[in-house]
Every structure is written in structure tokens, then in C-alpha cells.
Symmetry: C2
DNA sequence: TGTTAGCACTCCTTTTTGTTGAGTGCTAAT
DNA sequence: ATTAGCACTCAACAAAAAGGAGTGCTAACA
């Protein structure tokens, strides 16, 4: 471990660089952060820190910049504790934002993403729960016309999915209703994925009619198809692009293109599923497009059950403290809000 | 009207500039487009065209660029007719894209926007129908638990909206069902906006119970609240940013910010509502953020009823022919696809 | 009379060259 | 161990110079 002064110097460099986005020199450190020593001494310390891999030089002359390793030490050991908590005012503000905007479950996610990006000035990512992980609640049919009906499928997590189906030849709407009853009796409360192995045989038997059974199963499967993919909510792209690291058109375009690769983003979030709060810094990323970005993820739960993932993504020069505290707070908060939409 | 040769020159300038994005000089025109005359002659013609306001000079020396007026003449009179039609291959390709992706109504819009931007390399905008303009079709309640139910509201255009409601004290689920029946008998087929003045009194009377009546009306109003705002689908932003007009970071950011102003975009599309196909070029735009953009809009209908608006937005240097033909095609096509989701 | 070659001129673009300044690294003195 | 002093590096900026595409005009030509 580094000695006290080296840590102070590293901390100062990181802090200053995060604030200014300019490589920071020994003079600045010595002046702004009251070390009782001269720039030359700081210089020595910085040279050491560079040797150890915590700082980097673009070229001789011109200040130092933290390396990923440097940020890592900073995040793990040097982050001022008071920066890890959100102020009460912030919390109130966030609450009021929610109250004003959120009317449906999916709006929770949208608004959460918006809030996170607004506060952190970086991109926020939100992976919303997979329906197939939620518990099946209820299948219902509504009459539409002689030959069609609307199937409505509900899950524990508050999602309702509907689609129009053709009533199989020879069957009546009442038949559909009966089938729904059978499914509901047998499956209520099970994770939808678990339908298949479990009780299909019994249901088939109870339904009796083969084509009706198939039709109902088809509805469930198709509804799932649309919902199975987790939904990714993205927010704050333009805000992030205002950061000084995006001076260069190529870089901007590159980043925008990266942010459109939904699968990549999902993969990244998946990689940290269930880890609680996780910080991945710059070159620590294994995906190419994000090696100069840092990603902070947090997985949110509801009653012990894994629900989804929140994340902040931005340049490695990022206000880690703020991002972490924000995610921590939202992580708890979102579960509470979703709870209001459960039944 | 310009004489034959002037028009040929203007057409050549526009064509070349659209293709190359570089100011075009007399030499280029004379060489590439076989006029039988020397650059000097072309030069004279270009000077005339500039005098008349069809071309512009950034500074002396360095070729000409079409003005908005120049593009206008080009679009109105000089556009090669064969560029106004999509090839059969393109059509087949588009069809297959739809088939592969679209499963729900809202996916029609999303996919349409994607396709338009993909083909035109510009931003596409799609204003999806307001629910309140659609006809009310059916209101249904589903039992949830002792004290709650799910309300499902359907419209003619294929939208289904659902939300959870509390069953009013003292009422049963069967009461709700009865109320739904009353509403359905009275209102089916009317535009939802027209509910209020029309038959509310009669419904109130039929329902009898005041609190139940209020509850049902509340459901309808709240469902509408979410749906009332037209939805704007946006596609192809990054593709457009690959165009050479976006070399400058400021310009990129500016444009991205403009594209996030949903209200502005909606206003722009609204301005051309019902106009069929409309082309607005650069300075013809009255909104500040888009004075160097061209916008082509088309309003799509379904059985005479106005549904929504499609648009392509991009730099004034745009392949107008392609964009127009694309919009024309999609305009017809989208109605057909939506039809499949109607009942 | 319309067309064209020739030429001077403009002004953007690119390259070159010089200047400045922040910052380092080393050394010798404290 | 610390620091003042100094030579050195290199990006960033600016000014100057060279290059080039293209125009506008004029005078000659068919």
C-alpha cells in the first residue's frame, strides 16, 4: 500500500482532474491542496506514482492523468465518504420528480433513467426485469367479435400484456374462458418459465380439447416472446456528450454508435448481474467500444427477488462518488416505487 | 421560367452537390455532365443563376452551392421522374423487414421509422395517431382480487390500454361489469373525445349508482391521459450524423439537442398535417433550430381518416427524390400494415 | 451574337516556421 | 528528505508562405 502522502497526492490528482478535465501538474497540486511542500517534491511523488502505474503521462511536459489503476485505488480507498451519500434535498427533489411523472410501470424505468443521467451528467442505463422471471399471475380472455378475442396475460411484477387472437374453429368464447380458468388454477404464482416442465400434462388433460390447449399455450408463448427480452432504457446521451472528452466528432459518432448497440449494453449490464454495486473502470472493461469508459452498475431487488440492473456510463474521468451514491439511492428507491405497481 | 440550358445547369449543380457535398465549379459541370460548351460558358450561366437567387457563393473562388430557392426549383420541376419511384426490389426488401420484425401495433411505427431512416440515411420521424381521435371500441374489466380490477380499454385503431383500479367501496366486480356494458352499449364507435358532450347524461342515468359511474369515467379519462399525447418515433440519428455536414462537434451537439425537443418536432409535423406530401427546404422552415435542414412530411390515412404523419429530416443537401419516393411508398404501406391490426 | 481562351485575382487550405508556456527531470545545495 | 535552479520537451497557437480551385473579365473567334 502507498504511504500517506502518496495517497494524498493521488487523491488530489484524481480530484483535480475530475473537476478540471485538464492534465494536472505538480505546481497545481502543491498550490491548491495544501501540502506543506514544494512542487519539486510533489513532482518526485508523482514520478513514483507513475512508476507504480497509478498515473500517466501523455508526453513529457504536461501534467499527469490518472490511469485506470489510479482511479481504481481512488474508488476503492480514497473516495471521501461524504461523497457517497445523497443530500436530503436531492432526495426530496428526486421524489418530487417521480411523483410528477410516473403513472405506469414502464414510466418508472423511463423516469429513473432520466433522473440518474440528469444528476450524474452521464449516460444512464436501466435493464428492466424479464417478464419470464416474474411469476405468472393470471390469463384472461375478452370477447372481441365472433371469431376473435383479446388475451390478457398478467404477471406478478405488474406487467400486463395483451394481444388479439383468433378463436379456434369450432370453439366458442366460453371455451376460451374455461381454458383460462384451468391455466389459472394450475399455474398461478409460478414463474412463467417453469410452466413447461411442471404441470403441462395435467392442464392438457383438464382442458380436454387439444386445439384449445394449443391455442392458449400459443398465446402465453407469444406474449412472452415480446416481453422476454429485457428492456433497456437509456438516458442522458446528449448530456454526456457535453463533457469535454467529446471534443472530437469521430469520438462522438463512435460513442453514439456504441450506445445504439443494445445487445452490447445488455451484455455489459448482465456481466454484473447480482453483484450489488460494481465499478468497472476504463481498461478494466473487456468490451472494445467502452475501454475508455467507466461503468457503474447496481442490481435492484424486490423482496429478495432479482429484478433488474441500473447503471451509469461515462468517461473514466467521472464523478464516481456522486454516481455511486446516486445508484445506491435509486437502487433502494426503485424497488419501493415498483412495489406500488404490484398486486 | 428559366431557359432550357439554365435549368440543365442548375440540375447538374444540385445533383453534383447532393452527391459530393462539395461546392461545384464550372469545370466539373462542363466535364461531367456533357454540355457541349466550355467551362467559361457554364460560368456565365452560373453567374446568372446566382443573380436570380438559385445558387450561392460562400466567397468568390470556390464553386457554387444551391440555395433553398435552388433546391425548391429542383424539387418542384427538375427532379428526374425515375427517382420518384422505389424499385420493386426495394419494396420487397421493405416488406421482408416488416414481416420479420412486427408483432404489435407500436412495432409498426418503430420499424417504419427504422426503415425510412435506413433507406434515406437521414432522420425519420413518425407521429403516431392520437388515441382520442380513434373510435372507442370497448371497455372491459377483469377481476384481480377482492378490492381491485384491471380495466382494459380498446380503440378502433388497435390500441389496448390497461390499468389497475380499485373497486369502489360497496360495489362488486359484477357492478363494474354491468357499468362497462352500459358504456359499451352507448358509446361504441364514437370518437372518444366525443364521449363527453354526447351521451354522458344517459349513461349516468342507466348506471344509476353515482360512484360507479364516476369510477368508470375516471378509468377512461386516465387511460386517455397517457395515450392522448401522440407518440413520436424517431430513427436514424447516428446515420444522419455520418453525413459530411456534421463535421463540427458543435453542430452535432446542436442537432442532437434539437432532436430531443420532442415538442418542437411534433409542432413541425403538425404544421403539415393533412397536406399530403410536403417538402420544406432549409430557410423555408420557420423554426430556428431547423433552418439548415429540409423536412419532407407525408400524412397517412386509413379509410379516409387521418392517422398520423411520416417525415424525413436531414441537411438541405438531401436526396430529395429518394426521400420523397420512400415517404410516398411508406405512406400507402403503413396504412395497409396497420389495417392488419384493426378489427 | 453566343462562345471561348487567356489571365489576373480571390480566398480557402495546407504547410512551414517561430513563439510561448506549462511542466518535467535532474543536479547540487540546504 | 527537501528544494531551488535550470535545461529540456512538447503541445498549442499564430503568423507567414505556398498551392490550388475557381471565378470574373476581356478580347478574339465562328
Amino acid at each position: 500500500m502507498l504511504d500517506e502522502r502518496k495517497r494524498k497526492v493521488l487523491s488530489a490528482v484524481v480530484t483535480d482532474y475530475i473537476a478540471s478535465a485538464e492534465p494536472v501538474g505538480s505546481r497545481t497540486i502543491a498550490r491548491k491542496y495544501d501540502f506543506g511542500v514544494s512542487p519539486a517534491t510533489i513532482r518526485k511523488e508523482m514520478a513514483d506514482l507513475e512508476m507504480l502505474g497509478y498515473l500517466e503521462h501523455i508526453h513529457t511536459s504536461s501534467g499527469r492523468v490518472p490511469s485506470s489503476k489510479g482511479y481504481r485505488l481512488y474508488v476503492d480507498n480514497l473516495l471521501p465518504p461524504q461523497e457517497m451519500r445523497l443530500s436530503d434535498e436531492d432526495k426530496k427533489l428526486i421524489d418530487s420528480w417521480y411523483k410528477a411523472k410516473v403513472k405506469r410501470v414502464d414510466e418508472v424505468f423511463k423516469e429513473t433513467a432520466r433522473i440518474i443521467s440528469k444528476v450524474t451528467n452521464n449516460v444512464s442505463l436501466l435493464l428492466a426485469p424479464q417478464m419470464s422471471q416474474a411469476a405468472y399471475r393470471c390469463l384472461q380472455f375478452l370477447p372481441l367479435d365472433e371469431s376473435r378475442a383479446i388475451a390478457v396475460l398478467m404477471t406478478d411484477a405488474g406487467f400486463v400484456e395483451n394481444r388479439i387472437i383468433d378463436i379456434p374453429d369450432g370453439a366458442s368464447f366460453d371455451d376460451l374462458r374455461r381454458v383460462a380458468g384451468v391455466f389459472n388454477d394450475e399455474c398461478a404464482g409460478y414463474a412463467i418459465d417453469a410452466l413447461h416442465p411442471q404441470c403441462l400434462a395435467k392442464i392438457r388433460q383438464d382442458v380436454g380439447d387439444e386445439s384449445l390447449y394449443e391455442a392458449a399455450l400459443d398465446v402465453i408463448n407469444r406474449s412472452l416472446e415480446g416481453e422476454k427480452k429485457e428492456r433497456l432504457y437509456l438516458g442522458g446521451t446528449t448530456q454526456m456528450l457535453a463533457q469535454p472528452e467529446f471534443q472530437d466528432v469521430e469520438k462522438v459518432k463512435e460513442t453514439l454508435i456504441m450506445l445504439e448497440e443494445e445487445q452490447l449494453l445488455k451484455d455489459i449490464l448482465h456481466a454484473h448481474r447480482g453483484e450489488g454495486l460494481s465499478v468497472t473502470i476504463g481498461s478494466e472493461n473487456k468490451y472494445d467500444g467502452v475501454k475508455d469508459m467507466s461503468i457503474i452498475t447496481a442490481t435492484y431487488h424486490l423482496g429478495g427477488e432479482l429484478l433488474g440492473t441500473l447503471a451509469v456510463m461515462g468517461p473514466t474521468r467521472m464523478e464516481y462518488g456522486k454516481a455511486i451514491s446516486m445508484l445506491n439511492y435509486m437502487n433502494d428507491h426503485i424497488a419501493e416505487i415498483i412495489k406500488q405497481f404490484r398486486w
